[in-house]
């Protein structure tokens, strides 16, 4: 309480931010890991190139396919999904004005190069074929009449835990069998598993701080063994689950994981060594208070051993203003999607 007065402006700013979007319940915290070696890195300058008149907004999701093409799911005036060549040239738009796009959250590519858009406005996953046709949806947009009559304003946590309805789900991942894992989300606090045909298998989790409890599970990834890594953002830890959603471990020392990814791609399994990356992102309201101790990305062994880190909060090339999703198919090439900077970057890591 003795510090409450100076904090009032900050609290007001946080409340204002919360009224829009992504605020974790706990403020962004400093990572507790110490003596972490810094991995040299550089950003490819102006890598993503749009045609005149084409803009990306808040870059929420980024993913590559097996051919190196890059997908960016972003919030412009409308929420849109763009595809780029491996050289960063704009190719085309996918899913324009489809019923499942309202407010981008993340995008992933599965082992067959299908593109999965995760939309927290419609509470839907939309699976597109590589050519851009809708193959499957999970979750359902609220009936427009009910939603307008019940317009809930900013919404709130409800924990309703339904099989086929999400509460602002955040991300999706796939195991080698094609099972689908969803981190869900802001208004629920759980991980949901579906089979490859979209049929519900299991859900675990509720809001809390214990094992198998979550405070905004915000990002999700799997390894080749089928283990599931959940960025439990509000609890400042990565929770590791087995394929049956049983608890295995917590990695509590890398700050608040806004975005996690596991290198190697979605499959098929390859002999490359897999690493886990976790971003302790500068908050999306870009508060000066957090700039000094957030914005870095950690590289970990799958067992949680920290290998190193790179990056810091900022606006310049190679700095990050709120990484919201990462792609690390190649463990030394990290694509980062940023909210505050309205951009994505291609980051080259120089190991050793």
């Amino acid at each position: 309480m003795k510090r409450s007065l100076p904090l009032v402006p900050l609290v007001a700013a946080l409340v204002a931010a919360a009224s829009f979007t992504l605020l974790p319940l706990a403020a962004q915290t400093r990572a507790t890991a110490t003596n972490v070696p810094v991995i040299p890195h550089e950003a490819v300058p102006n890598f993503f190139k749009n045609a005149p008149g084409i803009y990306t907004g808040e870059n929420m999701g980024i993913a590559t396919n097996s051919k190196g093409n890059v997908y960016i799911y972003h919030r412009a005036n409308e929420t849109r999904l763009f595809e780029y060549t491996p050289q960063g040239q704009f190719v085309r738009e996918i899913g324009r004005n489809n019923y499942g796009f309202a407010f981008a959250h993340s995008v992933r590519v599965d082992a067959q190069d299908n593109i999965w858009a995760v939309d927290e406005g419609t509470d839907m996953l939309v699976k597109f074929s590589p050519e851009g046709r809708v193959l499957m949806t999970i979750g359902r947009r609220e009936d427009p009449i009910l939603s307008i009559l019940n317009m809930p304003g900013n919404g709130t946590y409800h924990g309703r835990n339904e099989k086929y309805r999400f509460g602002r789900q955040t991300d999706v991942a796939f195991d080698q069998q094609g099972n689908i894992f969803v981190s869900d989300g802001y208004f629920d606090a759980r991980v949901v598993k579906y089979d490859k045909n979209g049929r519900f298998m299991k859900a675990v989790g509720k809001r809390g701080t214990g094992n198998l409890e979550f405070n905004t599970p915000h990002s999700i990834a799997t390894d080749f063994q089928g283990n599931v890594y959940v960025g439990d953002r509000g609890n400042a830890r990565v929770q590791v689950l087995d394929n049956d959603l049983g608890w295995k471990a917590n990695y509590p020392n890398v700050g608040n994981p806004w975005a996690v990814c596991v290198s190697g791609g979605p499959g098929p399994k390859n002999p490359g060594k897999q690493y886990l990356y976790s971003s302790n992102s500068w908050q999306d309201s870009a508060p000066a208070a957090g700039a000094e101790f957030t914005g870095e990305v950690y590289k970990l062994e799958l067992d949680g051993t920290i290998v190193g880190k790179f990056g810091r909060a900022g606006k310049a090339a190679g700095e990050f203003a709120t990484i919201h999703q990462m792609d690390c198919r190649d463990p030394n090439i990290i694509y980062t999607a940023e909210i505050n900077n309205w951009r994505s970057q291609k980051i080259l890591l120089r190991p050793s």
Binding site: E93, N98, R133, P144, I145, L146, I148, Y164
Partner: protein, 365 residues
């Protein structure tokens, strides 16, 4: 208003166990083409409110796609967008869009093709039924879109006040709940059918009204019947309507899990159950007419679904399909076209598609 809608929605989807009382319904073997519609890559079919085919095999799809918008006005909020009307040829190739940017395409819930090949769209957001002629022109508009939508819980308004939504008589003599206002003041209307004279029958609907409204072919109001309840002639959510060759009117009373049969003046004749929770219905045109009735026992379309083939006396001949996302599974089959008795078009809400179903087994007789 808000709570009433929830209750209706809850009533529609509670249970679905009634069908288990009926045993040994034969399975009809069938094939399905789940990849029928080929829209351009920048054009997306979303939730299929309604699908129908013309006598020439052209397929029309009224779909919830794009984005419902609330536009801010001077102390009011306007509601627009959210649905589109597409035409495909018999092979599923995209032909064209109709009704671009019309005033009332907001929440597609049904589509029917009349005997003259006019296309009728039913919209639960605009509370309108619109007839498009074969040229694609608007030929008849029934109902009016509410000028504004309430987007925040507000102080109670007098019934019938602007923005309160239709449904109340506004100070007229007291009416039974759900009886509705004579005329075309619809509240979430769901379906349309015609008798041999071209009179128009509209199920109204899933909102505060629980009535069938009858108009002549020019759209002049003739009569209405129904109120909220479970007695004969009462409804808990009207979802679909069909009229047989004799002029009898079949109404899917979704909340009461039954089909009610009336004469052309609305006099109750009979009812039957045993078809689960009926969310769509289609009447074949042959010498011996059958009903196809879509059952949805859960709100997700993932647990409990079937399509029943039923004689006009309510005897179930057979059933096919189950809930899910794969081909031959149905995710809330909200619309059936049965112009050809053993080749159906089935539109789904949650799976964003139309399946062309071919029935094969002897149970189809």
């Amino acid at each position: 208003m808000n709570r009433t809608l929830h209750l209706v929605a809850a009533a529609i989807f509670t249970g679905g166990t009634a069908l288990f009382a009926q045993t040994a319904v034969p399975d009809i073997s069938f094939d399905a083409n789940a990849d029928l519609l080929r829209a351009p890559l920048d054009t997306f079919v979303g939730e299929v409110g309604g699908v129908g085919a013309t006598s020439k095999g052209q397929i029309f799809v009224y779909t919830r796609t794009g984005h419902p918008y609330a536009t801010l006005g001077d102390n009011r909020t306007f509601y627009r967008n959210g649905s589109r009307l597409f035409q495909f040829d018999a092979t599923g190739k995209f032909v064209r869009e109709l009704g671009q940017d019309v005033y009332g395409f907001n929440a597609a819930i049904g589509l029917r093709v009349d005997p003259q090949d006019n296309v009728w769209t039913i919209d639960a957001g605009a509370n309108q039924v619109v007839k498009f002629d074969t040229e694609g022109n608007v030929a008849l508009v029934l109902g009016r879109k509410p000028e504004t939508m309430v987007v925040r819980p507000a102080a109670p308004r007098p019934e019938g006040a602007p923005g309160a939504g239709p449904g109340g008589p506004g100070g007229a003599a007291a009416r039974r709940p759900g009886e509705g206002t004579p005329g075309s003041t619809f509240f979430r209307p769901t379906d349309v059918a015609w008798d041999a004279a071209g009179n128009i029958y509209i199920t109204d609907g899933l909102g505060n009204n629980n009535r069938v409204a009858k108009f002549d072919k020019e759209g002049r109001f003739i009569r209405q019947w129904g109120a909220t309840g479970a007695a004969p002639g009462e409804f808990r959510g009207l979802k679909a309507i069909a009229i047989d060759a004799r002029g009898d009117v079949y109404v899917a009373d979704v909340g009461n899990k039954r089909i009610q049969v009336f004469d052309a003046d609305g006099k109750f004749k009979s009812e039957f159950a045993g078809v689960g929770t009926p969310i769509a219905m289609c009447l074949t045109r042959g010498a011996t007419q059958h009903l196809y009735i879509s059952h949805a026992g859960d709100t997700d379309g993932m647990e409990d679904a079937a399509i029943y083939k039923v004689r006009l006396d309510g005897t179930v001949v057979g059933k096919f399909g189950s809930a899910g996302k794969l081909p031959k599974e149905f995710g809330l089959a909200n619309s059936i076209d049965c112009r050809t008795e053993n080749e159906l078009l089935i539109g789904e809400l949650t799976n964003w598609r139309v399946q062309k179903v071919t029935l094969k087994s002897a149970a189809t007789r």
